[in-house]
Subunit: 405 residues, 4 copies
């Protein structure tokens, strides 16, 4: 048992932290100033500073750190990438700087693992070069996505084409002007058995019949320049070669996508929680009332201790999940991955809420804390709500005793 | 002991509910469509539908229900107005419709109780007619407002004038084009004893030297057309007759303003929580996954029961606080008022969070639930953070045993 | 709306408080010294001081306060008795002193409401005189009693006799040497519809075939001299006239018994919580560390405030439930009664746990706090666990929207 | 980073688990049957089965596993012993079977690290042979022990003797007939600086002037045959050679004792929590109501998932604390050790409470669950209450930003 990160991870952590401190954090205010706010997503633009930062990150060797392949990416396994994701989690703009932002990371992993040579050439390479971005179209407005078998959109084979119909939403990133393709998941063969009905298909953003209806607000914000799109697919036709791993392989591909993505999200949430706790402590020491620093008033120290204890525990379980994924694969990490998917967002929500509270009126006006409030809340729903993951943890626990439902 | 509302309250509740159902709720979408969104508050306009609704409410006798005077208002005591405030709490636009919106209500109470005849004529009457609106300038950016003795802004007597200097923020409503005056609270005599240093002064919005610096965002929203202003007072001069109740009476006046205002806020929060629970239940019954309505999945029924129990308890304690205020005055209700100030916003936050959660992705995009998330969060800070009120409840509890600090 | 107790209730409260202070509290140590501890329940004896206190209480007119009939009892309705139950809740021995202890109170209500003249003569009168005590045999070891339809014990008609068979446990009070009869609930006609299968039957403790197997420990304590018995009924025969309200009326009778009993339990729990909070505050002020009273350390004031707020809310909802029961009957109070059945025991557990914590090592050794820990824990299970009552509250809430399951 | 235990630890874990399954668990009922219950601690006897089990454990090489020295003990470091402590935590009698029970373990560590050759010969060796047992006398009834500087008992040098005076309580194990000595901590030089005032002294149980006043109840139980003694030291005289590490070294010695002891306690608590969760799950699957297993009712699966997630997180942080202690020493593990001291007992309390709840009436009568309720509650106070450890975690957190108080 050893809780130290590998030498390579430690080396990258140091570099990344330095780059964050020297380049990313100072650029945050520039980024937000350059950002074009508009209710019309067609007017969105990527702040120029982002492309500058990306170029520097690439030069510094801090690029595609998430991809476990040495040729395509940094060749790190999950346990080594996890602490890097935590560091990136301290800034909303950081993941993109290092080409480690969702949903590109998940899409890249899918293409890397299951894509054909042609698909890699056409989509994976520009994605890994940071030239284009991508989206993932799975969730549907009409049905509870927590139950994947509810999915109603279709991608049916018609000769050497796939015909795509249906409505999706929460396709994050689809509003980005650089977004060039989506990975669409839908039903190909409703008669097949439960785990072979669905497929994943590559769909170019400019495919005829693909229409963005609107960008969904997150607590009233559109998250430009990325956006969360609601999209109608009306007889969209793409070549059958756009199936990823072939028709009917949707669940198999989805399975492999989930573990690492959840670890990334959770580690970033933990990094964000560390940031929020830092803000909390600074405020507790720097502001006074009734003749004392806030840190010495009421239960504020209990709040701080509870935050520290919650974060440290969440981090360890996430790291263990990463290690289990590396060592035992998806099914060996299944309880831990669902557990952290519940824990990390809830810890973040608790810490941010506490940070807002100690800031008083300034807390609800603070832009970073405001973004974190939204992020934390969304993470408790995205990629399976708390309820589904708690249910899975319980099912596996009960399964130790007898084959419970 | 009797838990039934008075006949008059019951009668007004029925009328109000009908008016809400027939007029206010259907007008909500109109209101939000008519609303001008702009980052420049000078461009804000009041949606015309609001003035139409106000005219109808006035005609229906549902006007100034908060004011306990029969001539100026409806002549209801706190316990009778409380259930009406709850009903208004179901809609963000409702309080204004009935001329019962903060901070006008508190300002009107102050003027009604402590204002001179001239002040009443000039400011109270148009306020109660719904012709103008007002603001309250107490909180300051530089110091923790939870400790009122921290206040640094000044309103000094200079001959027959008052000279006002300092910086305030969270002056809600100051961005409304109809806002014509503020009640400003500041230090008049720093040498006086702790409770006679401060004064309240009426300041017209167009007084030279009064400058709005910016509107503060609440989780990124400006809450147009009202806004939460940060204001600089730079040698603002008003006649000494603008003191409310005279110089040095700031604390005395503030004292009387607090109890009813907190009850209004809490009852509205409870009404909002009922709305959120209604949404939660409708979703729980109307949406399914894994072959069952959400209501039958996991711990959702526990969530619903916990919400119901929390709301019902919060309501009763708020009603008791209202009754105690009527019967025993501010000091007879002091524990209860601080208790509900902690409880009601926290209950609201819990219920809204649960309502968002059961709505999944739709929850974070829903405009009403989004507004409620912000409202709940702000209420835990506005008018004294949880911590200050918990501290007061504890101090009074310990005080039963011996004169603890 | 009026939160003051009636004059009669206030008068009795004052008398009761005085009697508690002057007689009951000073007698507690005597009682526990006189108590015979033995693992063999046949050796248990009632401490003589109890009969002396009962005689004094009877003389003082503080007797059978729970019974809403003026001839048999004090003639108080639920809302007037509730604050008296709270006062009694401050001492474990108090309810018996005033002949207001469970399960006698519930049994007396049943006999008063549904008993024949003969049954009243034979069992109710000596019970109300404090000469005998009684038990209630409903819960069964083999099945989850939260679902009453699980019940397996039988009371079948055989000519003019009832033949009773089965096993019961948690028949509290059956170890008391004065316990002379049980009310037994069992299945009479398994073919009848769901609510007419069960009957209640009076069974003398000395009926042949009734055998106490053991006294159940509560966290290792036998609660002498009352005890919680596990009892086998082996062909016990009693006259058919021992049916209460006739065969098949078990559910109807049970229904009426539940509301008031739950209010008594909850109000006593609230009284116990007040006692625990008093202990907590006294310790917080009387003990120091690090140069300060404990009250000024860490989050202790938050703990105190949270206790106060929880108790006050729980009390109000319990009082409202009592009032609703008086005014609208069992079904008009059903949500409130289930809600308080969850809330009050949980509040008590929280407050006692906090009181133990602030006492440090002394807390776990303190006999009163130890008894309260057990009482709180048991109350969350007795008479329906939290889960069942939360479930009922949720079902009723959802039922407002459509006829949910 | 590696979450697998070392090969040696895994080997011992397997052996220990087998021994637990084959020998210890089956002997539990025998142990409790042989146990002599008496309110007079002088009558207590050790159940003979214990000495039989000890002999077998010694033979099986499962002996003194806690001691990191290869000659005196098993030579395991903290991280390797931790999972063994967890396994022992599943049975109350197990730690003693393997000669790994508190307070002997802490006392042995102290003597091993700081004892003279003579002290080792006389006290450590028979202790490690399992021939004698020991106690630790630090906590005092009159002062809050959470603040060690409060300590009032004295051990003053008088020529070549130490004179001991004062009153101690919670000296656990002092009622055991095999208990032959105490380690006493008291003030030697009140004038010395804060960390050099106190000393530790070896005191034979039969020293004249040492008098056991009473055994303290833990929720009414005396925990025979060990007991928690309140002891008066009235001019007890022992040779000055009985000082451990010399006079004034009390804090230094205490420091080193704390880390490992807390890890042992926490890992045992985690093992106990696993046992309780196992009971909970078995009940959830094995008992039904309303036509379903309890596992499928209400929020029971959420309860199970929350328990699993809390236990897994607590275990990882405890293991990390053990690893940090091994690698970086006491001060390198200080935050983690205080954090787990809060977390593990609270997790245990939560899980046991949930296990009791799902067992219904059987839960409060179950002897193992009852003992666990007491153990969990005591652990939140023993060796520093939650509050002190939370305070330390917060102080260290704030200390990262500036030298806070």
């Amino acid at each position: 048992m050893d809780f130290d990160h590998s030498e390579r991870a430690q080396h990258l952590m140091a570099n990344l932290q330095r780059f964050m401190q020297d380049k990313v954090i100072p650029a945050e205010s520039v980024y937000y100033e350059q950002l074009v706010h508009s209710n019309d997503w067609r007017e969105w633009k990527v702040p120029p500073v982002m492309e500058e930062l990306k170029a520097e990150a690439k030069k510094a060797g801090l690029w595609n750190l998430f991809l476990p392949d040495e040729n395509y990416g940094a060749g790190l396994d999950n346990r080594d990438y996890a602490p890097l994701a935590e560091i990136m989690g301290r800034s909303f703009i950081a993941p993109e700087v290092f080409n480690c932002a969702a949903p590109d990371t998940g899409n890249a992993e899918v293409l890397y693992q299951y894509g054909s040579e042609g698909q890699k050439k056409q989509w994976l390479e520009p994605l890994l070069d940071g030239e284009i971005r991508s989206g993932f179209a799975m969730t549907e407005p009409a049905v509870a996505s927590s139950d994947a078998t509810n999915m109603e959109a279709t991608c049916e084979v018609d000769g050497d084409e796939v015909v795509i119909n249906g409505q999706k939403w929460w396709t994050s990133g689809a509003g980005d002007p650089r977004c060039k393709f989506l990975i669409f998941m839908g039903v190909t063969d409703p008669e097949a058995d439960r785990h072979h009905r669905h497929s994943m298909v590559l769909v170019p953003m400019d495919a005829p019949g693909l229409k963005i209806i609107r960008m969904l607000p997150v607590f009233g914000h559109l998250d430009e320049p990325h956006g969360h799109a609601e999209i109608v697919f009306d007889n969209v036709r793409v070549p059958a070669s756009n199936f990823i791993a072939g028709p009917g392989k949707g669940f198999e591909v989805a399975q492999g996508r989930l573990g690492p993505g959840r670890i990334h999200h959770c580690m970033r949430a933990i990094g964000a929680a560390e940031y929020a706790l830092e803000r909390l402590c600074q405020r507790a020491l720097g502001r006074g009332a009734f003749g004392k620093p806030l840190a010495n008033l009421g239960g504020n120290r209990d709040v701080i201790a509870n935050c520290r204890m919650a974060i440290d525990q969440a981090r360890l379980l996430t790291l263990k999940a990463a290690w289990a994924l590396d060592k035992h694969g998806t099914f060996g990490a299944i309880t831990d991955v669902s557990a952290i998917k519940v824990i990390a967002p809830n810890v973040l929500q608790m810490v941010v809420d506490a940070a807002v509270q100690i800031h008083g009126g300034e807390g609800v006006a603070d832009p970073q804390l405001s973004r974190l409030m939204g992020m934390a809340r969304v993470l408790r729903l995205a990629d399976g709500p708390d309820e589904v993951h708690r249910g899975l943890v319980a099912r596996l626990e009960l399964g130790k005793y007898k084959p419970a439902r």
